[in-house]
Symmetry: C2
Subunit: 375 residues, 2 copies
């Protein structure tokens, strides 16, 4: 009970801070209006031209360029109004009530016909989503801090006790299903109460997670076992970052041997170009790439049966990756070139061609023991 109260207090404090940011933004505009000025918001530019990879932080970061959004400007007035509409809905309906919702829901909450007109505040969600991103960068608050959530996906088990929205959950007693990772994993929702985990293992494929859970890999090797079933969700990424920071755990990532697998790893590691402004709060630059690697084919004496020919788009994608600054180190250049030269890709499930539990009994333990990973 004490725990629940503490979480609530933490949540309220964070919500108040974000509310205050919105209020400041609004007050500044009001002040300018009173001075009969043209009020404007300075919004950081979220385009490729303002994104770069920082060699120092090892993150994809947003630059300093901003654009001004003016109230007395025919081409900007609507967006100006929309920005405040969304900000006000977040403040009144979410932050002040302690509720959270989806961006789809927020669209419905803020959509209405403007009085004495046939004009809608929003015609489509494609209009409201960028406004949310504008607010995130302008206020320096993740959407989770605005009490908005993205799609939820992923499961977790491990030798850990966490607190989720006030409920204590023993992740070592979660059966075959696991704990469903929520979309908001900020510290006011999730706390780590106890942990005997020595590392975190994130696997791309849900079926592989299932295999490892059924084999009780996490118990034998004392690790937190996670999957997001493909691209890691915001909730999973934030949780990974918090586990590296707060629990000081290394993170290992196991993905398919294809450009998409490399991309999944890369987003976990340094963020994505489209959402560069969130890298600071989501990315895990220390994440270790366990595989699959093209070289695994020989090392583990896999059979030709598991090779899948690279498609034209795989090749294009891989060649693009060769040019990414965060893959410029020669180990990555070699890794990607190896895949291109070999001309094939493989799924993690390919390891089952040797034995159903080969991934559990041989592949992962051997790689971790031999420190056989890329960073």
């Amino acid at each position: 009970m004490a725990k629940t109260t503490m979480d609530a207090a933490k949540r309220e404090k964070r919500a108040k801070e974000t509310s205050k940011k919105i209020q400041h933004m609004a007050e500044a505009v009001l002040a300018e209006l009173k001075k009969q000025d043209n009020p404007a918001l300075d919004i950081p530019v979220r385009a490729l031209s303002n994104v770069s990879f920082s060699q120092k932080s090892k993150l994809i970061e947003l630059g300093d360029r901003t654009q001004s959004r003016e109230f007395f400007n025919v081409s900007m007035a609507k967006k100006f109004m929309q920005t405040f509409l969304v900000a006000s809905a977040c403040k009144e309906h979410l932050l002040e009530t302690g509720k959270t919702t989806s961006i789809r829901d927020l669209y419905y909450m803020t959509k209405h016909t403007i009085r004495n007109s046939s004009e809608n505040t929003f015609d489509d969600q494609v209009e409201s989503d960028p406004i949310i991103e504008d607010l995130e960068v302008s206020l320096n608050a993740l959407r989770e801090e605005l009490h908005l959530f993205a799609a939820k996906k992923g499961s977790m088990v491990g030798p850990m006790v966490i607190v989720d929205a006030g409920d204590e959950i023993d992740l070592s007693r979660m059966g075959s299903g696991g704990w469903s990772v929520p979309s908001i994993t900020e510290d006011y929702v999730i706390q780590f109460k106890k942990s005997e985990a020595k590392y975190v293992l994130l696997v791309e494929k849900e079926a592989v997670w299932h295999r490892l859970n059924e084999d009780k890999f996490w118990k034998k090797h004392s690790c937190a076992l996670l999957t997001a079933g493909g691209q890691a969700t915001r909730g999973v990424r934030r949780l990974l970052q918090r586990m590296t920071r707060e629990l000081k755990l290394p993170v290992y990532v196991l993905v398919d041997n294809d450009p998409w697998g490399l991309y999944i790893y890369s987003v976990i590691k340094q963020g994505s170009i489209t959402l560069a402004y969130e890298s600071m709060r989501m990315a895990v630059p220390e994440a270790r790439f366990l595989g699959l690697r093209t070289s695994d084919f020989k090392r583990f004496e896999l059979s030709n049966d598991v090779k899948i020919k690279l498609l034209k788009e795989d090749e294009t994608r891989a060649k693009q990756m060769l040019g990414y600054p965060w893959f410029e180190h020669k180990q990555w250049q070699r890794e990607i070139s190896d895949m291109l030269k070999a001309g094939f890709k493989m799924e993690i499930e390919a390891l089952s061609n040797k034995d159903i539990s080969f991934v559990t009994d041989v592949y992962i333990p051997q790689k971790i023991k031999n420190k056989d990973f890329l960073v």
Copy 2:
């Protein structure tokens, strides 16, 4: 601990039964071979022509027609071999070891080059998947009984204690994430230990599940709250059926007001045409359709802002549904015609246009209280 042992015993017993079925199938073929006969398997036909809706059971069922798969027949020999290859892998690597795996994994497990030839047992998973379905119908065993699982999706909370793979899980203390519903929810994996639920509520949209969980709807109304995030998975469907049968709970389904929502409800209720043979073990003919309904637009005084124009394919899909025998009752004919006449569809999130918790505080309780649903 006693519990775990019991589950294991139950699982072993079930696995042995399925193993025995495979063995019988193999022995019959061997006996025919010894008699120098042409061994053959009778496999029920899984085509639309052999599927019908039973007015009595209210299920989409498979008919009696079978096709013979012969060993000494050039066009059938490969499929004959594949059938036994898959059956043998299920028996040896899964049923006899107590392990479960994905159909993708099984494909890799059974794929190899046939000795002294360049012929593969399987070239693609599209070859092995139908073989699994053949086995399911021939052996009268769901793929879960062959220890194969499908994709996992969905979360659950509620005033219930379940046992999942030996772990006792209190679904009333699952925080914001919930329990991740596994893909195999047979009684040897999941048991219902304690339940104070008065009904089950399945919502199509994950975001709506989140809203209801955050508002603690399930606590106030004593219900099990489930989502599958779209089309219900096999794990969710089997769980729903078991809750109606074993716990005698009514099931309410809340989906979008569109043909896809109706389809999701319809599959939960009477199964699908493509997987008609599993209806008996998956379908819930008593499932109650809570909405959204076209008539809700007026009843709840929704605003025009939430209307989404029906697309051409929505109309085509809806018109097809008018012809389904399980929608022939006049209440369903009216329901579908209403949608077509109105010319618009709506998402559950549309209710947020009134108030963020309108779905929790008004919509669902009022509908259930007034018995305002279709069956």
